[in-house]
C-alpha cells in the first residue's frame, strides 16, 4: 500500500508569536476524530494536527492581532508553552504563515 509520499514531521524553528498568523492560503484542513489532517498544496506535504484544541487554535489565529493573543484567549495557562511550540512546528512546515 502507499499511504503517502509526504514527510510526517518537521523540526521546530524560529517562530515569532508577536506577529499575526493565519492558516497558510495553500493549506487545506480536514477535521478528523484525532484533530485534523493538513495538506499543503504548494509543498505537497501532509501533516497531522494531533488534537482538537490545536485545530481550534490554528483556525482562530487570523482573528487575533498576534499569536500570543490567540494563545492567551484560547489555551489554559499551564499549556501555553507547548501550544507555542506546536505553532512553531506548524510555522516551520508552512501550515501557518505570518501575514
Amino acid at each position: 500500500m502507499s499511504v503517502t509520499d509526504e514527510r510526517v514531521e518537521a523540526p521546530a524553528a524560529d517562530f515569532d508569536p508577536d506577529r499575526a498568523w493565519r492558516v497558510h492560503p495553500q493549506v487545506a484542513l480536514r477535521d478528523e476524530s484525532f484533530g485534523a489532517l493538513a495538506y499543503h498544496y504548494g509543498t505537497r506535504r501532509l501533516l497531522f494536527l494531533k488534537s482538537r484544541a490545536l485545530v481550534d487554535l490554528v483556525s482562530a489565529l487570523d482573528r487575533f492581532e498576534n499569536a500570543t493573543a490567540a494563545i492567551e484567549a484560547l489555551v489554559p495557562e499551564g499549556e501555553r508553552a507547548q501550544y507555542t511550540r506546536a505553532l512553531a512546528r506548524l510555522a516551520k512546515s508552512e501550515v501557518i504563515d505570518a501575514h
Binding site: 500500500m1 502507499s2 509520499d5 484525532f34 495538506y39 494531533k50
Partner: protein
C-alpha cells in the same frame, strides 16, 4: 502535544471517514505490456466509466475533502478526456498525481501540464539503462520515457518524479537512477515490486534477493529525500524505521478505484476477494468507503498470527497484504520477503493449490483468447517535434 491517548497509527488503523489519498486507475488500456503490471493492463474495458461518471467521482472526492488522487492505469493519457478530467479535479482542489509511461507526453502536452497547478507527473522507468528497462517494459520504452522527461524539462514543468519499481535486475542501478533524476532536477521515487497482476508470473524471477533488500534498506535510510510511497515498510524490521507511516493502509486510509468503478481495498490487489463495491451503486464511492463489509472488517484489529511471537511485528506489521495474497501465503503470517527469512520458509511450505495464480485481467490476447507473451515490442507513434 495533548492528545486523548491513542497513537496516531492506531487511529489510522481504525480507518478514517475519507481516504487520505486514493489510487484511481483511469483505464485498462495500455500501449505497453510491462511484465510486472499490477493491473494486467492492455485492453480498454468496454464498461469503462464515462467522462460524466468520472467527473461525478471527482465531485464526491472533493466533498469528502480527499486532498489528492494518484491516477494510473493502464496508461491514463490514453483516455480521450484525460486533460479535461485532470483540469476538473484541480479546479475542485483535488490534486492530481499521475503515473505515465511517457509515450504520449509530447512537447505540447508537457507545456500544457506545466501551466496547471496541483498536478504532479511521475514518469516510469524500470532500468537506468535501456536494456534493463526494456526487458521489463518493452522495446523502445526507455527512449520514449526519456523523451517525455526531456519534454517536461523543456517545458519548465518543475520538479517531476521518476518512478521505479525495484527489481532484482535494477537494484544494482540505484545510484544511476539518482543521477538521472538529478540531471533533470527531478525526484526519484522507488516502489516495491508486488506479485500482483502479471507480476504473479514474474515475481519469483525478478523480486530482489534478501541480500539486495538489506542493501536497499540501508541505501534508503541514507537518502530520506528519495520517495517510496511508504511501500517498503516490511524492511523497517531491519532496524530504524524508514520514513513514513509504516503501516498497511488498505481500506483504512487508502483504496483503489478501477476503470469500471470497482473499489478495492488496496491499489495492489485487484482481485474479487478485496472488492468492496462499485461507485455506480447507491451512495456512490462514499457509501462503499464508509459502509462496505470488507472495509469494516479491515478496520477491526488484525491477528498477528504466525508473526505474533516475532519481536519485530510492531515494526513491520507482518508486511504487505498484497504480497502475501498473490504468493498464496496466509494474510496473518509473514510477508514473502520477510527480512528474517520467515517468508521463504512459508513459501516452501505453502499449499500450491491455494495459490491464486496469474490473472489474465486485461492483458492483450490473440484471437484464441491466449495472452500475448510480454513484454511485447511496441511501435510508438512518432511526431515531429519542431
Amino acid at each position: 502535544m495533548p492528545t486523548d491517548g491513542m497513537p496516531l497509527r492506531e487511529r489510522f488503523t481504525q480507518g478514517l471517514d475519507a481516504p487520505i489519498c486514493l489510487t484511481w486507475e483511469l483505464t485498462y488500456a495500455c500501449n505497453l505490456a510491462c511484465v510486472h503490471c499490477l493491473s494486467s493492463s492492455g485492453r480498454r474495458d468496454p464498461m469503462e466509466l464515462t467522462a460524466a461518471e468520472a467527473r461525478h467521482i471527482v465531485d464526491e472526492l472533493a466533498d469528502m475533502k480527499v486532498f489528492y488522487v494518484n491516477i494510473g492505469g493502464g496508461e491514463p493519457m490514453l483516455r480521450p478526456d484525460f486533460f479535461d478530467l485532470v483540469g476538473y479535479a484541480v479546479d475542485k482542489k483535488v490534486g492530481v498525481k499521475f503515473s505515465t509511461n511517457g509515450t504520449r507526453l509530447t512537447a505540447e502536452r508537457a507545456r500544457r501540464l506545466a501551466k496547471m497547478d496541483y498536478v504532479d507527473v511521475q514518469v516510469s522507468i524500470d532500468g537506468a539503462l535501456a536494456s534493463t528497462n526494456d526487458s521489463v517494459r518493452g522495446e523502445g520504452s526507455f527512449a520514449a520515457a526519456r523523451t517525455a522527461m526531456d519534454n517536461l524539462a523543456a517545458a519548465d514543468f518543475g520538479q517531476f518524479k521518476i518512478s521505479v519499481v525495484v527489481t532484482r535486475e535494477n537494484v544494482t542501478q540505484l545510484d544511476q537512477f539518482s543521477a538521472i533524476a538529478e540531471s533533470y532536477g527531478a525526484q526519484l521515487r522507488l516502489t516495491r515490486f508486488r506479485p500482483s497482476g502479471r507480476g504473479v508470473e514474474t515475481w519469483e524471477r525478478l523480486h530482489p534477493t534478501a541480500e539486495q533488500q538489506r542493501m536497499l534498506y540501508h541505501w534508503l535510510l541514507e537518502r530520506p529525500d528519495v520517495l517510496t510511497g511508504d511501500s517498503f515498510f516490511h524492511l523497517s524490521a531491519l532496524g530504524a524505521p524508514l520514513d513514513g507511516l509504516n503501516l498497511c493502509g488498505a481500506g483504512r486510509v487508502v483504496c483503489l478505484i478501477d476503470p469500471v468503478g470497482d473499489v478495492y481495498a488496496c491499489p495492489f490487489v485487484i482481485d474479487k476477494e478485496f472488492l468492496a463495491g462499485n461507485v455506480r451503486g447507491d451512495g456512490g464511492f462514499a457509501a462503499v468507503w464508509r459502509q462496505s463489509d470488507l472495509f469494516r472488517s479491515l478496520r477491526e484489529p488484525q491477528s498477528a498470527g504466525a508473526c505474533a511471537s516475532c519481536g519485530s511485528y510492531d515494526a513491520c506489521q507482518g508486511g504487505c497484504m498484497a504480497a502475501k495474497f498473490f504468493t498464496g501465503l496466509p494474510l496473518d503470517g509473514p510477508d514473502p520477503e520477510c527480512v528474517f527469512g520467515h517468508g521463504e520458509d512459508a513459501l516452501a511450505a505453502r499449499d500450491a493449490a491455494a495459490h491464486p495464480g496469474a490473472a489474465v485481467g486485461h492483458s492483450k490476447v490473440d484471437r484464441h483468447g491466449t495472452p500475448i507473451p510480454v513484454p511485447t515490442p511496441v511501435r510508438f507513434r512518432t511526431r515531429a517535434l519542431a
